[in-house]
Subunit: 330 residues, 2 copies
Amino acid sequence: MADARYDVVGIGNAIVDVLAHADDAFLAEVSLAKGTMSLIDAERADQVYAAMGPGTEVSGGSCANTMAGLAALGARTAYIGKVRDDEFGDVFAHDIRGIGVAFDTPAATNGAPTARCLILVTPDAQRTMATYLGACVELGPNDVEPDLIAASGIVYLEGYLWDPPGAKDALRKAVAIAHQYGRQVALTLSDPFCVERHRAEFRALVSNDVDILFANEQEIMALYQVSSVEEALERLSGRCSVVAVTRSERGSVVLADGNTFAVPAEPVERVVDTTGAGDLYAAGFLYGLVREMDLPTCARIGSIAAADVISRFGARSEVDLAALVKARLG
Amino acid sequence: MADARYDVVGIGNAIVDVLAHADDAFLAEVSLAKGTMSLIDAERADQVYAAMGPGTEVSGGSCANTMAGLAALGARTAYIGKVRDDEFGDVFAHDIRGIGVAFDTPAATNGAPTARCLILVTPDAQRTMATYLGACVELGPNDVEPDLIAASGIVYLEGYLWDPPGAKDALRKAVAIAHQYGRQVALTLSDPFCVERHRAEFRALVSNDVDILFANEQEIMALYQVSSVEEALERLSGRCSVVAVTRSERGSVVLADGNTFAVPAEPVERVVDTTGAGDLYAAGFLYGLVREMDLPTCARIGSIAAADVISRFGARSEVDLAALVKARLG
């Protein structure tokens, strides 16, 4: 949108990922459900961390990964999220700014440390996440600058943000300002268990406030407690203007204006780590939208960005994503 | 050695690496000499970090990387090095213990933060390092437990440890105890500029105290200010019992009992990042020594471990190194 200073502003939990390899026996030992995201407290975070093997620390956070991907593709992006003024907080701020995302949310100066997500990657490339929200619980309405929301074409929210109790007021404020200025609201449902925790609020939000919805099959079925994606899409018909449902190796399905179409996944030589697949799909899709491309192309760019991130360890791309997309689109 | 509790105890600068991709223009912009290690102070560390792109944090430190490699191969190892009681210090301690290295050096409770090494990896896979020593300057003789040195078959020292002024007394103490208990002393020269900084001390050490010496071509030539490896090896004849000189893609040359032999490098499909090549060569070589293998096999295992680490990002292996070596040796 030509009148917007930013193409997309994202609001999410600001998290540093701690990635390590693990096997199924280890997941059982620390009682984590494979493929999902569990919320853990500080004590359990210490326990799981002590038990897991050597790690790699990389900036993460679902929405922040999406903003980083968008910035790498060439979009103008900003991010709102809460870190503590500690070493992991410095790492998070450095990395998101380093890729070109505007990030000015003041760091908390006391209370819990910067959030971390312990990510265990099994030999089948699945990732199992245990998140300690830390300083994310300090995010509040004061962190949402009205000018920033008003100046951004799309406000992108992650479902995980409903977990820290104080963040909801921040989200409501952001949604209200977005509507006031005629901006679009995008939401990702984040995780099936996250949908279970906040189903009523997510349904109301999707019905009343969301223009662009991202979800995977499990999440969208959990939202309406139905057993097929088709049923879920029926329930969504006439609500959001665009719904994009990711289906792992089967690509994605997009619903818009009552029509549904499928886009295949991009070929991947070897899936190394699925961390960030949904985040990067959303980045690619939103990039297409802000560049006013047709929806199949938006979904295609999402698939290209997702295919890249799952072919490496971690949730952020290391390649020149813009060049990759350009080469693939031909 | 059957009477030793540990096969190798290492003493080194305890560092967390911050790896990022960069190009030659960036190295020029921040005035770093490609392929080398520069020492930087806190202020310059902040400047370079602010200028560089998004990073990946991984435990590092040359000697610690070697101990991690040795542990991964199956050797019994311990490590002495100084971190601060901060988040990066926790990461360092977690990672080295997580791979099975005994690490009990008390963290500093005040003063500078845990050391970090900003590693810029250029498209040619070369790494350029800028190290802020931080808490490493706090390492002192009290951190060297006599029992630990006495109980370890080999004491392995990194040349970088001569940079923090206080560490020298710790090293002298370790060397004296090792001699007293008939243990072997191993040294890596670490970096040509490091050799320039401490040439006289390194020469005396090599002449009087070192049994096993690791160096690359530039380092060994810098030690004796000669222009060929052959000349340097001549100067070393009759001093150390084993000298292993790494030569990048040309493998390594080993001098022992007045005889010299060359071992080729292992084939690498694609060199991604040379960080840790020398550290892992030393790990493989020492593993062979503690298992009482012949010297060509020691060098071969060094080459295998080095080839693995340069085929991935970072200075620590992510694969089952023991299985890899077993498969390659056949």
